[in-house]
């Protein structure tokens, strides 16, 4: 029965209902995640929603230590891209300001097309360096 379900799902997806290349099934699009080595909890939030394709905008990144306390004085490096299209971000976003209470401003973010984007952050804080990847699916 499971196999039949799988074949059915594959059949449905090949009908190309959405048109564009679809993100992987079950992709985790949570905007709060724990970093790879569990040093930090990170949350992301765009300055305004909905995110407009092709328009440069800012994100707020909140970082907590494993203890739950806000992480201050950190450095955040931004990377990312579209895994299904073999290309990176169209811009090079940067952390431009620390906003207090473990919140940081990342400016210069732009998504040039709809689909699955990876938004990768490298957090350099008192507890060491750790990475986290967020998945964003833009309509």
């Amino acid at each position: 029965m499971f196999r039949a379900l799988l074949i059915g799902l594959v059949f449905l997806s090949t009908l190309g209902l959405g048109g564009c290349m679809s993100p992987p099934v079950g992709l985790d699009v949570a905007r709060e995640r724990v970093t790879l080595q569990q040093r930090y909890q990170v949350g992301i939030k765009p300055a305004a929603e909905p995110i407009v394709i092709g328009k440069m905008h800012a994100w707020e990144v909140s970082v907590k230590q494993a203890s739950g306390q806000p992480l201050t004085g950190a450095r955040i490096l931004v990377d990312g891209g579209m895994p299904q299209h073999h290309h990176g971000l169209p811009t090079q976003p940067r952390m431009t300001r620390e906003l207090g209470d473990g919140r940081y401003l990342v400016e210069g973010v732009k998504f040039s097309m709809s689909g699955w984007w990876e938004f990768k952050l490298k957090i350099e804080g008192a507890q060491g360096v750790d990475d986290v990847t967020f998945n964003l699916v833009l309509p």
């Binding site: 029965m1 379900l5 564009c20 394709i53 090079q92 097309m113």
Partner: protein
């Protein structure tokens, strides 16, 4: 086993039923949502360029129009912007590479819609319409002139028009006739002997020439195409709209927004993401220019006429595209700008150096997805029939429409 078969049949039935539940005749709800984003009516007016404070001034627009058509702005007196950006041919020239005072290395780009591009030229080496406009003036293969000679032309032929927009021209009485940091060795020597203040004044005149031309170019825009009328019609539930596209064109459109994934880069009302991609097109021209965006980024950062430079009217915080410019990563290699597909059928040959002659061959290139000679192609092979290729090319013909330039009548 029987249960398995029944399950499969049930899934097939559900699949077919879902796929054929169209919101309007030929198109599913999801397809309609994509089609709606392609309409020209969805295009907002271009944003103001903070680096060009005169772009909305009528006197600047009028001066820019005169300059755009003036062959005096060239070394041989024969080349104007309009020579390659011919308004009778939608502001392009139909040649594989530009032909000015010499032969260029890139396909002439159309002017319509350029006001929406954060980066100009195929490699994006300029970040404003005005900075773009002055590039060809000092390029030996294009207008072939030099900035001091251009400043003198403004003094002799456009003094009152220029000064009404930009203020007094500098005193050039004791300066040589020709000088430029980019010209012949003699012109460069003359430039170096001028002194910093004079250099700055003369460069500012060149920047202002660009700002006037940009003010004129900003209003060069596309008019509605058959595709726009078709999509508007089916959204409005107008039964007659269905006739506007042939079955072949509709199949091409379905592939364009669906299995072909063309719309991922050719998106929005201008059918471009305004970004740079490697699609495995054969390299053309010398290094480092053949590196495409890689070389464009280096030139943009070094350009004295960029948004952060002293000739820009923008505050640094208004130069977001330059401040957050992507300067690293392999995806810059061999990447070129996604062009707008509006009026594409009216302007062969295609690609950054006219490497491909027809739209059929362009689509066949995307289907075959050959490996790139420089960098890595983003394309993946597509399983299309020969008919699908023809249909896609036919669909691209539905994007043709008029081009408007300010108060000029439309040209096709």
């Amino acid at each position: 086993m029987k249960r398995f078969s029944l399950g499969l049949v049930a899934m097939l039935v559900v699949g077919i039923a879902t796929a054929t539940t169209f919101s309007w005749r030929d198109w599913s709800k999801e397809e309609m949502a994509i089609l709606a984003t392609l309409r020209l009516s969805q295009l907002q007016a271009p944003e103001a360029d903070p680096s060009n404070r005169v772009e909305a001034m009528p006197q600047a627009i009028a001066l820019g129009k005169q300059l755009f058509f003036d062959t005096k702005l060239s070394a041989n007196g024969k080349v104007a912007c309009a020579s390659c950006h011919d308004p009778r041919q939608q502001f392009q020239d139909g040649r594989p590479v530009g032909q000015g005072a010499g032969t260029g290395i890139r396909r002439t780009m159309p002017v319509a819609g350029a006001a929406y591009s954060p980066f100009l030229f195929w490699d994006g080496r300029k970040d404003s319409l005005w900075a773009q406009a002055i590039g060809p003036l000092e390029d030996a293969a294009e207008h072939g002139g030099n900035r001091l000679a251009y400043a003198r032309i403004m003094q002799q032929h456009y003094r009152s028009e220029y000064e009404a927009v930009f203020g007094a021209l500098p005193d050039m009485a004791r300066l040589p006739s020709d000088a430029s940091p980019l010209g012949t060795p003699a012109q460069q020597a003359a430039w170096n002997a001028m002194g910093r203040d004079r250099q700055e004044q003369v460069s500012r005149v060149l920047a202002n020439i660009g700002k006037a031309i940009a003010a004129y170019e900003k209003a060069v825009r596309f008019g509605d195409s058959r595709l726009d009328r078709y999509i508007e019609g089916i959204i409005a539930n107008d039964g007659k709209a269905d006739q506007l596209l042939t079955a072949s064109e509709k199949n091409g459109l379905r592939i364009f927004i669906g299995a072909g994934r063309c719309v991922t880069c050719h998106n929005g009302p201008l059918l471009t993401d305004q970004h740079f991609h490697n699609t495995g097109i054969a390299p053309h021209g010398p290094m480092p220019q053949a590196l495409g965006r890689r070389s464009g980024v280096a030139k943009l950062l070094a350009d004295e006429f960029n948004c952060l430079g002293s000739f820009s009217d923008a505050a640094p915080e208004q130069c977001g595209e330059l401040r957050f410019l992507a300067t690293e990563g392999g995806t810059l290699d061999g990447a070129y700008k996604t062009p707008s597909l509006r009026n594409v059928a009216l302007r062969p040959p295609y690609m950054h150096a006219g490497q491909i002659a027809t739209l059929d061959e362009v689509v066949a290139h995307y289907r075959a997805a050959p490996a790139a000679k420089i960098g890595k192609s983003e394309l993946e092979k597509l399983e299309f029939s020969a008919q699908d290729v023809k249909d896609l090319a036919a669909f691209l013909g539905t994007l043709s429409g008029p081009v408007y330039a300010g108060d000029q009548p439309p040209s096709r």
